[in-house]
Symmetry: C2
Subunit: 218 residues, 2 copies
DNA sequence: GACCTTTTGGGAGTTACTCTCATTTGACAG
DNA sequence: CTGTCAAATGAGAGTAACTCCCAAAAGGTC
C-alpha cells in the first residue's frame, strides 16, 4: 500500500546510482518509467531556472514533460519531492554500515558523509549544487527538508537503532541524530550557498570538529 | 509591508506574557483583537481534539470562532501558524541576552532554555503539551517547525550574531545554531511524546550534556 | 492474437491561501 | 452628540496543490 515512491532498490554496489539504474537490464516498462521520471525532473528544473520554483505550476511541468498532471503525482508525491527526494540514502546507509561498529558514531557519520559527497561531486556536482541552492532559497523546500522521510536525522537514527539492535530509539539516540543531522544539512547548504566554491569535504570536516569539541570557543 | 503577524511587542518584562497582555491598559480595539485571536485559537484546538488537525478545515475553525475565513488569515498567516507561533521568542531572547557574554554559548542556551521552560510550565503546561504533541504527530507541523521564522536555530543564530557584533553569520555560527537548535527542539518533543511525565529540565540538561561531550560514548 | 496487469489520462472535487472591494466599527476632534 | 478618518471585517472570485475514480491504452505472457 501507499506506493507513492517508486524508488528502485539497488541490487549491487553501483559506481553511480543513476547511471547504474539506466544501464541495468530492465524491462521496457521499467525503462520507460525511469525515462518519464527523468524527463519530468529535467523539465521541472528547466522551468524552475527560467521562472522560479514558486511560480512554476505542476500543470506546466506536466505539460513540458508531456504527461498528465495525474501522472506527475504518480511519480512525485508532492511538488517538493521533485527537489527533495534523492537516491543517495541507500548509498549513505551502506557507507555507514561499512564503518566499524565500535567507532564513535560521529566519526562514522563524518567519514560516510564525506565519502558519499566526494563520490557525488564527480558525477552530479552541478545537479547537487542547483538542488541545494533551490532548497536554501525556497522556504517551502527548506521546511520540507525536515520531513521525516527526507531528513538525515531520520537516517542517522535508523543506523543508531541498528547498531544498538533495538526497535525503539532512546532519548540519547534521538538527540544525537537530530543534532548531527542538522549539522550535516547545514554544512551542505552552506556549501551550496557559497556557490560550491569551497571544499565541501573541508566544510563537513570542520562542522564535525565543532560537534566533537562540544562547541568549544563559541 | 507584509503585516501578517500581529504579534504585539512586550513593553515591560511580564511574569506571564499572555496574562500580562490581557491586563495591560489596551484600547478597546486592541482588546478585541486579542480576544478574537484567542477565540480562534481556542476553538481550533477544540476542533483538533475532536476530529484531528488534518480533517479540521480553516472554514470550520472560522465558523466556530464566528469570524470569516478572511479574518482567520489576517490573524494567522497559515493554518500551521495556529500551532507553531508562540509568544516566547522575546522572552527567550531576553533570557539569552541576560547571560554573561563570555559564557560558553552552549551553557547560555541551556540555562536560558531551562529557565524559560520552567516559567512556562507554571502557567501553560497543558497548552504547551498539547501543542507539542500535535507537532510530533502531524507531519506538516513537524516540517513547519523548521521554517525560518519558527526555528530555535534562527533565534540562536541571531543571538550569536549580536554577541559577535556582526551582520553576516559565519560558518561556525550557522553550524552551531543548527545543531543546538535541533537538539533543543528534539528535547522538547521527546518530553511531549512522553506525555510530559519526565522532568523536562532534566531532559534538556541531558541533551546539552550530550552536545557538550561531543557525543562521547555514542 | 487473446488475456491480464500496469500505467495513463481526464474530470470532478477539496482545501489552503490570495486579492480586491465594499461595509462596518472603533478612535478622536470639535 | 456628530462628522471624519483609519483600521478591521466580510464576501466573493480566483489560483494551485493535491485526491479520487473510472475508462482507455500499453506492456507482458502464453
Amino acid at each position: 500500500m501507499n506506493a507513492t515512491q517508486p524508488t528502485a532498490a539497488l541490487p549491487d554496489a553501483p559506481t553511480n546510482p543513476v547511471q547504474a539504474l539506466l544501464e541495468a537490464p530492465l524491462s521496457l516498462r521499467e525503462r520507460k518509467k525511469l525515462k518519464t521520471r527523468q524527463t519530468i525532473r529535467r523539465e521541472a528544473y528547466r522551468l524552475f531556472a527560467e521562472q522560479g520554483y514558486e511560480s512554476t505550476t505542476v500543470e506546466q511541468i506536466a505539460a513540458a514533460a508531456e504527461v498528465s498532471p495525474s501522472t506527475f503525482f504518480r511519480y512525485f508525491a508532492t511538488k517538493d519531492d521533485l527537489v527533495l527526494t534523492d537516491e543517495y540514502d541507500p548509498a549513505m546507509i551502506a557507507a555507514l554500515l561499512a564503518r566499524p561498529a565500535d567507532e564513535p558514531f560521529l566519526t562514522s557519520c563524518r567519514e560516510a558523509l564525506i565519502g558519499l559527497i566526494r563520490q557525488l561531486l564527480q558525477h552530479e556536482r552541478q545537479e547537487l549544487l542547483i538542488r541545494m541552492r533551490l532548497v536554501t532559497e525556497v522556504p517551502a523546500l527548506r521546511a520540507g527538508l525536515h520531513r521525516a522521510d527526507h531528513s538525515p536525522a531520520a537516517l542517522y537514527l535508523a543506523i543508531l537503532l541498528r547498531r544498538a539492535g533495538v526497535e525503539e530509539p532512546s532519548y540519547d539516540m534521538r538527540i544525537t541524530a537530530a543534532a548531527i543531522g542538522a549539522a550535516s544539512t547545514e554544512a551542505v547548504l552552506c556549501w551550496a550557498a557559497g556557490g560550491g566554491e569551497q571544499d565541501i569535504a573541508e566544510l563537513v570536516d570542520h562542522a564535525f570538529a565543532l560537534l566533537e569539541s562540544g562547541f568549544a570557543g563559541v
